[in-house]
């Protein structure tokens, strides 16, 4: 269990610096600058505080500005005067100031910025905590966060030295990369001459691989995320897990020894491991018997605390497992996984379609139904027109007509599309691809047009051998490849691309794959001389997911790292999963 790293695996850089940096900045802003002593969550309701000054720490969004404006204007109506401060994180946008002005409160508030963009959630995981990135960029075509990404990369390179090797795929990856390069050039000299600590950086757009993100997760950490929703590296375990009447907020990271050993495991192994662990623990407790006073004293003072801690964690995770088992091991879940695997492998499409239809008819879950429809669409290059119509009709009947807008969103993002009849498709496709190669049109963001985006999943899958051929049972205890994160049925596309590029140190020989991914113009490599980089740093790889990554992908790459002697570090705009993606695309009634 919990395979150790190879002895020559490189050390991870120390990211606690980022945490300290962010904390100190915030404390400075709140205490020194604005004398804040109590924090409230910004919700759409009147502020009850009676203090003389209100300080808002917000994302630069118009919605938030309107909320603040409503508060201020309400105060004005009530004849109340107080001071208002707005701290924007990570930066202030002109549009926000505009809204404040239009709402007539620009003069009443003072603004500040908290340039915080990187939150280290774990020793190898940095999150920008920008879940809105996904919808903003991939649906609305809003590029505002790309600059933030570039700033974050710039911060990393000033702290940890330049990156000698850069790879990327995706339009957004390329834009972020170029902006970042510009920043580096402007502030030339700072990173020059520094020894690189991290040898490679790989930028990847979420839309290069929607499939992986849409699959049900079956490694422990992913399952916990799917079931309980991990927020900022911590999870709320409800009474059904804690076996008491209270909920408990638990930090999930490498510090939790029990969790650290099972986080990357396939769920089928976890229970066995935990019970083994429980037995070991019992044995250690049992050593007490037959101890003399002195030994007992030692035991109590040195080991007992650790054991108790472990005991607590163990019972928590066992509780979580039971809860997951209760939810997931029912017949339904197995059917669901079976259908997903069938979709990935591309057989029994009709059966899968009727499964989805039944899923909708039974109103199992609007998000789940939507996810399956998208998975079907992407793996099949769009739904055939008949299914497209009927599934949508069924969906609207089941979950409400407002989802007509959801479908329009999904279509725009290329997640749920209709197969166009052969001729028109090729015509349009060639037209669009011509447009895309034309440099001027390269900037057209409306090339999001779903028509241009055939997912080509089947062909890519074949090229990259994503569906492992299995003779007999796939041994999930001793995984052979990254496919273990999906029960051995599918190697995550995103991870496979990263593996392939790292192996070749370029995109060479992957032209066909890149073309199939519709990224011909957005796959890039940039190498600088490596003489300064130590061999250790060259085995450290920073993977940047633009639009979010899942715990399954993280687990898969951790596995790859162990196999090849690399260490991966993850930087993501947010940790995501299928439900979050679907919710981001959904339109709900206000």
């Amino acid at each position: 269990m919990a395979f150790p790293h190879r002895p020559d695996a490189p050390e991870l850089p120390d990211f606690s610096m980022l945490k300290r940096l962010a904390r100190d900045q915030l404390i400075y802003l709140l205490e020194q600058q604005h004398e804040v002593d109590k924090l409230y969550k910004v919700e759409n309701k009147p502020a009850l505080s009676s203090s003389e000054q209100l300080c808002f720490l917000v994302r630069p969004r118009i919605k938030n500005m309107r909320y603040i404006a409503s508060l201020v204007n309400a105060d004005k109506l009530a004849g109340r005067t107080r001071k208002y401060k707005v701290i924007f994180s990570p930066q202030k946008f002109y549009a926000c100031e505009m809204v404040l002005e239009e709402e007539g409160i620009y003069g009443d508030v003072s603004c500040d910025e908290w340039a915080f963009s990187l939150l280290p959630l774990d020793v190898d995981l940095l999150s920008m905590e920008l879940p809105e990135f996904f919808r903003d960029y991939f649906l609305e075509g809003d590029q505002r966060w790309i600059n933030t990404v570039a700033q974050a990369l710039h911060l990393l390179s000033t702290l940890y030295g330049p990156f000698p090797n850069c790879y990327g795929i995706g339009r957004c990856a390329k834009m972020a990369y170029e902006l970042w390069r510009n920043l580096e050039e402007e502030e030339d000299g700072e990173t020059k001459g520094r020894r690189p600590e991290i040898g490679h950086i790989f930028l990847l757009d979420r839309d290069v691989d929607f499939v992986t993100a849409l699959c049900s997760q079956v490694v422990y950490e992913g399952l916990v995320d799917d079931t309980f929703r991990i927020k900022c590296g911590s999870v709320d375990f409800g009474p059904e897990v804690t076996s008491s009447d209270k909920s408990l907020k638990v930090l999930l990271n490498a510090e939790d020894k029990v969790f650290n050993e099972i986080r990357n495991e396939h769920f089928s192994n976890v229970f066995g491991f935990l019970s083994q662990k429980a037995r070991n623990l019992q044995a250690q407790y049992d050593r007490r018997r037959g101890m003399d006073i002195k030994q007992m004293k030692n035991f109590v003072s040195q080991e007992l605390k650790g054991l108790k801690q472990e005991h607590r964690l163990l019972s928590l995770h066992i509780g979580a497992c039971e809860s997951i088992m209760k939810k997931k091991t029912k017949q339904d879940f197995q059917e669901l996984i079976k259908t997903e695997h069938a979709l990935l492998e591309g057989f029994n499409i009709r059966e899968s379609t009727s499964y989805i239809e039944e899923h909708i008819d039974r109103q199992v879950s609007p998000i789940e139904s939507l996810r399956l429809m998208c998975l079907l669409s992407i793996t099949e290059n769009g739904l055939i027109p008949k299914d497209y119509r009927s599934l949508k009709t069924q969906y609207l009947q089941s979950y409400g007509p407002e989802h007509l807008l959801t479908f329009s969103n999904l279509r725009r993002a290329g997640l749920l599309t209709e197969q166009a009849p052969g001729d028109t498709l090729t015509a349009v496709e060639s037209k669009v691809s011509k447009l895309v190669t034309d440099k001027a049109a390269g900037k057209i963001t409306d090339a999001f047009s779903s028509l241009a985006k055939r997912s080509n999943f089947r062909a890519i899958s074949k090229k990259l051998n994503l569906i492992p051929r299995v003779d007999g049972e796939y041994d999930l205890k001793v995984p052979r490849d990254m496919a273990y994160v999906f029960s051995g049925a599918y190697v995550p596309l995103s991870c496979r691309i990263i593996e392939q590029v790292l192996e070749r140190r370029s995109w060479q020989g992957l032209d066909e794959v890149v073309r199939l991914l519709n990224c011909s113009d957005f796959a890039f490599t940039d190498m600088t001389k490596e003489d300064k980089a130590s061999s250790e740093s060259l085995r450290l790889i920073l993977v940047v997911f633009l639009g979010g990554c899942t715990f399954s992908e993280i687990s898969a790459l951790r596995f790859l790292g162990r196999e090849k002697g690399y260490r991966f570090i993850f930087l993501t705009t947010a940790v995501t999963n299928s439900a979050r993606l679907m919710e981001a695309m959904s339109e709900v009634k206000a």
Binding site: I62, V99, G141, Q397, P401, L405, A590
Partner: protein
């Protein structure tokens, strides 16, 4: 060496003063200096002459002429004075010429006669006219002090940040003071003035009478006063020909001297060097120049011509129509080396080197002599230092040669001082050149710093020399070459006779990608000169789009700004431009511009979605984007409208739009929704309860749960709900109601399109095993095992699985076998399995 000290004049026992020529002036002055208003800037700065300043005639030929020359007399500018009468001229620390007019207006000109700006010294000055004015230098910059016709003083300590201060009145002052000066002490400017035998000190609060300590009696008037360069010392010249020298605080007397000349001197200035103990003032009359210090005798020079004195940090510059000279105390190092019969180590080293060049063995003797005394290091240092103070390159060279010679015999002499001195001298000689005309001494240069010297070269448009110096001194590019190139470019764009293309190309050729050069700054300058096209061309070279945009906006090139902003990838910048455009253009044009910029368009749409819904609609309308228009109305039907009629109307508009967009599916779905809404409304009216906004499925379910089966079926028919859904729906609803009777009836109504397994499942969910078993028997063969397992009949499930000979089913059943109760069944399955395998095994071998 004897002749070298020929121009040395001793003052007392300890100090020598020397006067040497800097330049012979070839400025071809027609007037005498005395007919001009003269101002010369310190630190070897430029000289301004205003000819005919006092003539009041209007004739153009006799209008005053303002000439500006370099210190070597090279003309820099000449212009006809067309403004009012000028009282006083002076140079600011930034080498700007301040011309104080009689009406209190101060006009500021650049070194090249370019008018910069003007400011007024206030109404009081305007009314009472300016009687006299002084320009003085403080830590903050340059100040102006004015004596008005009403005998009041007004001053500003820094013309860069003009704050006028009117000084208090001097009690009983009826006529102009005989002499006055501005004093700077403790960062505050004061005025010291003499009225008859009395001295008054004015600060901004009060006027106090002061008496210099140890002043000789019998003084009835002060004729002249002089403050030293650093405001530390003060000299007073009385009508008795007596000179008092002391500290500027008037607390201490340094020395006094009686020259017995009662004629008022033309000028009196301090001549001392920093860190020297010697104090001396230079007094000039019409034809006589006198250096007076703490000695019974003075040094006297005869002036052949009308001359003008310029006080410097370490001496006095004296220029006349034909020459420009420098008078200063001979520095200690030079004195040691060159004094007649000096045995100082430096002197010996210089001698040794000379002998060495003559290949004489005396060189060795001298050297030995120094070494024996252990003074070689000191000798080298002396030579290096003295070289710095020499004006003639030949002498600098021989001193440096001596130093270098001496260095050879030293083990560890740090080379920096020698190297730096060589570099500094090279720079100094270059700027002292006749064509450049900045006669800086070494001390002045060190005080001024290289940065300021470079600025002054730039100010004189001596870009190539400045760049050469930067390169020679290896200054970092950002501080050195780039900065100068940027200045050059800013000057270049002002050349109106050169075409935009040529200027832009020339600038780009020179500047290239030099780090630290901001093209946008240069472009801003071009725009300031009214050359918009050139500015745009220059902006093309600016690598940072963020820098381009604000200027483009300022120049009203908003569309260009927009595309630049988009290129930059900075959405915030794009937005700034967008809102700018929105105000600038009319709506139609604005939309057209957006149309060509999809990224900007999507950004603006985002904004509108939250802030200006109507505009959003217009945007879609303009683009004939019916799909989005449809979505827009759909959203409106949920968010904006409350009444059913309004919502239906919004949906109708949406449906129309969808038809136009040829999206029949959406149109139909929307029409269905309209029907549903109306129906739900009717249901609410007729049956009560909550129906609005339920999905079709939920509406039907609600009807069934409420027992309105007929209505439910009607609805299902109307909306063509597929059979499968209806069965699922009814099944779930009836089970929820626990209406098992009705459920059974329903199950028998016809053959189930979803099979009977769901019946089993749902009954089990309601924990009704009894009902579940009923349906388990009706489940089709493929799902039989599952159904049996669900109702918990493991044994029968095993039988069926064995019958099916289905491996998957067998293992499924096996996994449900628990403990002892199902032990028999498990065995049975194992046996069946073994049998099946036996049967299967021979097959592959046989085949």
């Amino acid at each position: 060496m004897d002749c070298y000290t020929a121009n040395w004049n001793p003052l007392g026992d300890s100090a020598f003063y020397r006067k040497y020529e800097l330049y012979s002036m070839d400025w071809d002055l027609k007037e005498e200096l005395r007919d001009c208003l003269v101002a010369a800037a310190p630190y070897g700065g430029p000289i301004a002459l205003l000819r005919n300043p006092w003539r009041k005639e209007k004739a153009a030929s006799v209008r005053p002429v303002l000439d500006i020359y370099s210190a070597s007399g090279m003309p820099l500018a000449s212009l006809l004075w067309k403004s009012g009468p000028v009282v006083s001229l002076g140079w600011s620390a930034e080498e700007e010429l301040l011309c104080v007019q009689e009406d209190g207006a101060v006009l500021v000109y650049g070194l090249h006669g370019d008018f910069r700006r003007h400011f007024s010294m206030g109404n009081e000055v305007l009314q009472n006219r300016v009687l006299d004015a002084r320009i003085f230098h403080t830590e903050f910059g340059s100040g102006v002090a004015i004596l008005t016709g009403a005998h009041r003083f007004t001053l500003s300590a820094n013309v860069g940040d003009l704050k006028l201060r009117r000084m208090p009145e001097v009690p009983g002052l009826q006529s102009a003071p005989s002499c006055w000066t501005a004093l700077c002490q403790d960062r505050v400017a004061h005025i010291l003035l003499a009225v008859g035998p009395d001295l008054y000190l004015l600060d901004h609060a009060a006027c106090s009478a002061v008496t210099p300590p140890g002043l000789a009696p019998g003084v009835s008037s002060f004729l002249q006063m002089a403050v030293s360069f650093t405001y530390r010392h003060l000299a007073l010249f009385t009508d008795t020909g007596y000179i008092w020298m002391g500290t500027a605080s008037l607390k201490e007397k340094l020395c006094e001297f009686n020259c017995n000349i009662r004629a008022p001197p033309k000028q009196m200035v301090w001549c001392s060097r920093p860190r020297s103990k010697e104090r001396a003032v230079v007094v000039a009359w019409e034809r006589r120049l006198m250096v007076v210090g703490d000695a019974p005798e003075s040094i006297q020079f005869v002036l052949d011509e009308d001359s003008y004195l310029v006080p410097e940090l370490d001496g006095v510059r004296i220029f006349s129509r034909s020459t420009h000279e420098f008078l200063h105390e001979v520095p200690a190092a030079s004195e040691e080396i060159f004094k007649i019969a000096s045995m100082a180590p430096g002197a010996l080293l210089l001698e040794a080197q000379k002998e060495y060049e003559k290949e004489s063995q005396k060189a060795d003797e001298y050297l030995r002599e120094i070494q024996e005394l252990g003074q070689l290091t000191q000798a080298v240092q002396q030579c290096i230092e003295a070289a710095g103070h020499e004006h003639q390159p030949d002498m600098q060279k021989s001193l440096l040669r001596a130093a270098s010679f001496g260095k050879c015999f030293l083990d560890r002499f740090p080379p920096d001082s020698f190297v730096h001195m060589c570099q500094d001298l090279r720079v100094l000689n270059a700027v002292r050149d006749y064509h450049i005309g900045i006669p800086l001494t070494y001390s002045q240069y060190k005080q001024l710093t290289i940065q300021v010297l470079l600025d002054r070269l730039v100010l004189r448009r001596l870009y190539p020399l400045a760049i050469q110096i930067c390169e020679y001194l290896r200054l970092p590019e950002v501080q050195g070459v780039s900065r100068i190139l940027a200045h050059w470019a800013c000057y270049k764009v002002q050349q109106k006779d050169v075409s935009d293309e040529d200027v832009a190309r020339a600038i780009n050729q020179k500047l290239g990608d030099t780090p630290g050069v901001s093209y946008s700054d240069i472009a801003a300058r071009a725009y300031g000169c009214g050359r918009t096209e050139l500015a745009i061309k220059l902006l093309e070279y600016e690598p940072r789009s963020g820098e381009q945009v604000p200027l483009l906006l300022k120049m009203k090139r908003s569309k260009l700004a927009l595309s630049k902003a988009i290129e930059s990838g900075d959405t915030d910048l794009v937005f700034t431009v967008l809102l700018h455009l929105k105000n600038e253009l009319n709506r139609g044009d604005f939309f057209m511009t957006l149309r060509n910029q999809p990224m900007a368009l999507s950004l603006y749409r985002q904004f509108c979605k939250h802030q200006e819904l109507e505009t959003l609609k217009d945007l879609y309308n303009q683009d004939d984007n019916h799909q989005e228009l449809g979505s827009f109305h759909i959203r409106a039907s949920y968010a904006a409208e409350e009444r059913i009629e309004g919502r239906v109307a919004a949906l109708q508009t949406a449906a129309d739009a969808f038809y136009k967009a040829k999206n029949e599916f959406a149109a139909k779905a929307t029409e269905d929704q309209m029907r549903l809404l109306r129906l739900q409304r009717r249901l609410e009216d007729e049956l009560g309860g909550q129906f609005l906004d339920l999905s079709l499925h939920d509406t039907v379910t609600t009807l069934i749960l409420g027992g309105h089966n007929k209505r439910a079926e009607q609805l299902a028919r109307d909306f063509r709900i597929p059979d499968k859904r209806l069965w699922w729906l009814k099944l779930t609803a009836l089970a929820d109601l626990e209406d098992w009777e009705e459920l059974e009836k329903f199950s028998k109504s016809k053959k189930s399109p979803i099979g009977y397994l769901p019946f089993v499942e749902i009954c089990m969910k309601q924990h009704n095993k009894y009902e579940a078993k009923k349906y388990a028997s009706r489940v089709g063969p493929e799902q039989k095992v599952k159904a049996l397992l669900l109702v918990g009949d493991v044994a029968q499930a095993a039988d069926v699985a064995i019958e099916h000979r289905n491996e998957a089913e067998l293992s499924l059943v096996l996994s449900h076998c628990t403990g002892a109760t199902d032990g028999a069944t498990a065995d049975k399955i194992q046996r069946a399995r073994a049998q099946a395998q036996k049967k299967r095994k021979p097959q592959p071998e046989g085949a």
